[in-house]
C-alpha cells in the first residue's frame, strides 16, 4: 500500500482558473451602513439564536440582540445603532429560498458603538477566559463553516492540542477576502493568532497560505517575524487546499482519521479571518458585526473586497460595489466551488458570507447532464480518494446504503468531481441530496423510536388503569360481599386476601 502510494502519488484536487485578480488587488472599501439591516438569527452552525430584544427597542452598535441557544450556537449583536422594527421571517441566504427568522434593525445613521472595553493584557487571563470573551463576541469560523469559534478554542484545550493550523489557503477561485485581510491587517491577525495560541494551549501556529498570494505571504511573514512559534508556510495552490483535512496533512503530515477531528492528531484549525475577529473581540471588546466580503464575478463592474455590516442585503452590497454589467446567470454566496446559489438578491449577508459572486452564463457553464462514460476523471480529482461515479450511480438508483458504503459520509462536497466531469453530471447535488435524505431518515428513525416509547407507555398506562379499575371493582364487590356476609363472620377473612394476592 505504502509503495503503491509512493509510486503513483495522491494526485488529488484540481487547478481551476482562480479569477482572484483584479479583485484581490483592488483597495479594500468599507460600506456605509444601509437604512435597514436584516440580522438573521441563523448565522452559525447549530441551533438558531434566541432574540433578547423587543420590537421598538433602541440598540447601540455591538449590543447583544440574541443569545446562543443550545450547545452549539453563537450570540448575535447589533451591526449598527438604531431601532428594532420587526422580528420575523425573511428569505434566507440559502438555495432553498426558505424563510429564516431575522431581526430588522432601522439604522439611526449614527453608527454609535456601545460602551465596549478591550483587554490590555489578555495573556494574563486563564485560557478559558479568552474563550469566554470570544463566545460573548459571537465569533464564528469565518472560512464559511461558521462553527462557533469559542467552542473550538475550549474544546481544543481539552483535546491537548499542540499545533494551531491557521487556514489562509483560500483555495476557492474568485475569493480574496482572506488574502486582502492578510495584506491589510497582518498585524491584527498575528495578534489574534497569539491569543488563540494562548486560548488553546498550542505551542506553535502554522499559517498555510497558497503560493498564489505572494503579497499576503510577505505581509504575514513581516508581521510574524518577531514570533518564531508562528510560522508562515506557503503551500502549493491547489483546490481544495483550504479544506481542513488536506491542509492539516499538507502542513503537519498528519492524516485526520475518518469520523475524527483535527484534535485527534493534536491540531486545531482556524481561519485567518477568525483570528482577526478574535483580535477585535479581545483587544477592543468588539463583537463580530461586520466582515470582509469579496464581490466578484463576470457581471460585477468593479470587483473588490468590501467591509460589510452583517444584515446588509446582497442587492445593496452589489450596488455599492459599483453595480452589475449585465444580469447574472447565477448569484452565489461564497466561492464558486462550494458556495450556495442564492434564490434572489434580497437576502442578508451573514457571518459566513465570504463572497458574493454574480456569475455570467459563460462562467457558470451550465450544461445538461449526459450519461456517465466512466472516464474516472472524478476519481483522479477527488481529494478524499472516493469514487464519485460509483456513489452517484448508487444514489441515482436510490441505493443510499450502497452510497454510504462507497464513502458518501467521507465526501466533503468540495465539488472537484463535478468541476471536471465531462458529462456534466451534477455529482455534488447527488451527494447533497443523499446526505439530506440520510439525515432525514435518521431523524425519522429517532422520531419513530420516541413514538414507540410513547405508545408503549400509553399502552401500559391503559393496562394499569384497566387493572386498577378492575381491582377497585373487585374490592368494592368484596366489600359488599363482606358487608352482606357480615352475619356469618367465618367467611370474610378467607375472601379478602384473594384480591390482595392478585395485586402483589
Amino acid at each position: 500500500m505504502g509503495l503503491m502510494e509512493k509510486l503513483f502519488g495522491r494526485d488529488w484536487g484540481i487547478h481551476p482558473d482562480d479569477h482572484k485578480r483584479p479583485a484581490a488587488d483592488a483597495v479594500t472599501r468599507t460600506m456605509p451602513v444601509p437604512e435597514r439591516l436584516f440580522v438573521s438569527l441563523s448565522q452559525h452552525l447549530g441551533a438558531p439564536a434566541r432574540p433578547v430584544v423587543l420590537v421598538g427597542q433602541k440598540v447601540r452598535k455591538g449590543e447583544r440582540l440574541a443569545d446562543p441557544q443550545g450547545a452549539v450556537s453563537a450570540a448575535i449583536h447589533a451591526p449598527t445603532s438604531g431601532t428594532i422594527t420587526a422580528i420575523g421571517e425573511i428569505p434566507a441566504p440559502h438555495p432553498s429560498g426558505l424563510p429564516v427568522l431575522a431581526i430588522t434593525l432601522e439604522a439611526d445613521g449614527l453608527d454609535a458603538w456601545a460602551d465596549l472595553e478591550g483587554l490590555n493584557d489578555p495573556f494574563l487571563l486563564p485560557p478559558a477566559e479568552i474563550s469566554k470573551k470570544v463566545a460573548e463576541a459571537g465569533v464564528v469560523g469565518l472560512g464559511g463553516a461558521t462553527f462557533p469559534a469559542a467552542l473550538k478554542l475550549s474544546l481544543s484545550e481539552k483535546a491537548k492540542v499542540t499545533t494551531l493550523v491557521m487556514n489562509g489557503g483560500e483555495c476557492e477561485p474568485y475569493l480574496s477576502c482572506d488574502d486582502r485581510l492578510m495584506r491589510d491587517s497582518a498585524a491584527a491577525i498575528v495578534d489574534g493568532i497569539g491569543l488563540m495560541l494562548h486560548a488553546t494551549g498550542a505551542t506553535q501556529a502554522l499559517v498555510g497560505i497558497e503560493d498564489n498570494k505572494p503579497e499576503a505571504i510577505a505581509a504575514m511573514q513581516q508581521a510574524a517575524a518577531a514570533q518564531p512559534h508562528i510560522r508562515i508556510c506557503p503551500v502549493p495552490a491547489r483546490y481544495p487546499m483550504g479544506s481542513e483535512k488536506q491542509l492539516v496533512q499538507e502542513l503537519t503530515g498528519h492524516e485526520i482519521p475518518a469520523d475524527g477531528r483535527p484534535g485527534d492528531v493534536g491540531v486545531v484549525v482556524h481561519n485567518v479571518g477568525t483570528a482577526w475577529a478574535v483580535h477585535q473581540a479581545i483587544r477592543f471588546g468588539r463583537p463580530l458585526v461586520a466582515r470582509l466580503i469579496t464581490v466578484n464575478g463576470g457581471c460585477v463592474a468593479q470587483p473588490g473586497n468590501i467591509m460589510v455590516p452583517l444584515g446588509t442585503l446582497v442587492e445593496e452590497v452589489l450596488a455599492f460595489a459599483g453595480g452589475l454589467n449585465s444580469a447574472p446567470a447565477r448569484l452565489v454566496m461564497g466561492g464558486p466551488m462550494m458556495g450556495m446559489s442564492l434564490p434572489q438578491a434580497r437576502v442578508p449577508v451573514v457571518k459566513g458570507s465570504s463572497g458574493i459572486l454574480a456569475l455570467s452564463a459563460a462562467e457558470v457553464a451550465e450544461r445538461t447532464e449526459e450519461p456517465c462514460i466512466r472516464c474516472a476523471t472524478c476519481v483522479g480529482a477527488c481529494p478524499m480518494g472516493l469514487l464519485p461515479l460509483d456513489m452517484a450511480r448508487h444514489i441515482q438508483a436510490n441505493d443510499l446504503k450502497g452510497a454510504v458504503k462507497t464513502g458518501l459520509k467521507d465526501c466533503i462536497a468540495c465539488g472537484c468531481c463535478a468541476y471536471v466531469c465531462p458529462a456534466h453530471i451534477p455529482l455534488v447535488q447527488y451527494f447533497s441530496h443523499a446526505k439530506g435524505e440520510l439525515s432525514a431518515q435518521e431523524r425519522e428513525k429517532l422520531r419513530q423510536e420516541s413514538n414507540r416509547k410513547l405508545a408503549q407507555s400509553r399502552a401500559q398506562r391503559l393496562e394499569r388503569e384497566a387493572r386498577e379499575k378492575a381491582e377497585a371493582a373487585a374490592r368494592r364487590k368484596a366489600e359488599r360481599a363482606a358487608q352482606a356476609a357480615a352475619t356469618p363472620e367465618s367467611q370474610a377473612p378467607s375472601n379478602l386476601p384473594a384480591p390482595q394476592g392478585a395485586t402483589a
Binding site: L98, E370, Q429, E444, S450, L454, A455
Partner: protein, 175 residues
C-alpha cells in the same frame, strides 16, 4: 441386479431415517421475520394498514400477504427498511410518500370534548373537558387516528412544514 435394487432401497430407507430425525429436531416453530418486522413498524397500533395493530401487520408482511409499504405513518423510510429486511424488491413509486403529516386543531372549532385524546395512540393531544385541546408536535405520529373522532372537524392533518434544518437538496432530474 438384485444387489442394485437392494442397495438403493437401503439407501433410501437410511436417508429417510435421517430426514425423519432431522425433521423432528430441526423444526422451526414460527416465522422468524415477524418479530424483526414488528420492530421496524412504528408500534403505535394506529390501524391505518387495516390489520389489527402493528403485530398483525408484521405477521401479514412476513407471510407475504401485505406489501412492505403498507404502513402509511411509517412512510418511505419504514417501507425501505422492511423491504430490505425481507429481501423484497420495493417499487418506491408505489409508496405514496406525501411527507410526514401532523394533526392540527382549529382552535375556533374545538369544543373540548376530549374524544380525540382517548384515541391518540401516543398521548400526543393535551386538553381537559371544555378546554381547547392542543397537539404536541413532537409526539404526533401523523397516524390520523384522532381525525374521525372529532365531532366538529376541528382536527385536520397538515403536512409538517419544511424548515431550513429539515430541507433536503432535491435529486437532480435524470438526463
Amino acid at each position: 441386479m438384485i444387489a442394485a435394487i437392494l442397495s438403493l432401497t437401503i439407501l433410501g430407507a437410511a436417508l429417510g431415517l435421517i430426514l425423519g430425525i432431522a425433521g423432528r429436531f430441526l423444526a422451526v416453530e414460527s416465522n422468524p421475520f415477524v418479530d424483526e418486522v414488528e420492530a421496524l413498524l412504528p408500534g403505535t397500533n394506529c390501524g391505518q394498514c387495516g390489520f389489527p395493530g402493528c403485530s398483525g401487520a408484521a405477521a401479514a408482511i412476513a407471510a407475504g400477504s401485505a406489501p412492505a409499504s403498507c404502513c402509511p405513518p411509517g412512510g418511505k423510510t419504514t417501507a425501505v427498511a422492511i423491504a430490505e429486511k425481507m429481501g423484497l424488491a420495493l417499487d418506491l413509486a408505489a409508496v405514496a410518500d406525501t411527507g410526514p403529516k401532523l394533526a392540527t386543531i382549529a382552535e375556533d372549532l374545538c369544543i373540548g370534548c376530549c374524544r380525540c385524546i382517548k384515541n391518540c395512540p401516543t398521548d400526543a393531544i393535551l386538553g381537559a373537558p371544555k378546554q381547547i385541546h392542543n397537539v404536541l408536535k413532537e409526539a404526533c405520529t401523523g397516524c390520523s387516528a384522532c381525525i374521525d373522532h372529532c365531532p366538529t372537524e376541528a382536527l385536520v392533518m397538515q403536512p409538517v412544514p419544511i424548515t431550513l434544518q429539515h430541507w433536503v437538496m432535491p435529486k437532480p432530474l435524470a438526463a
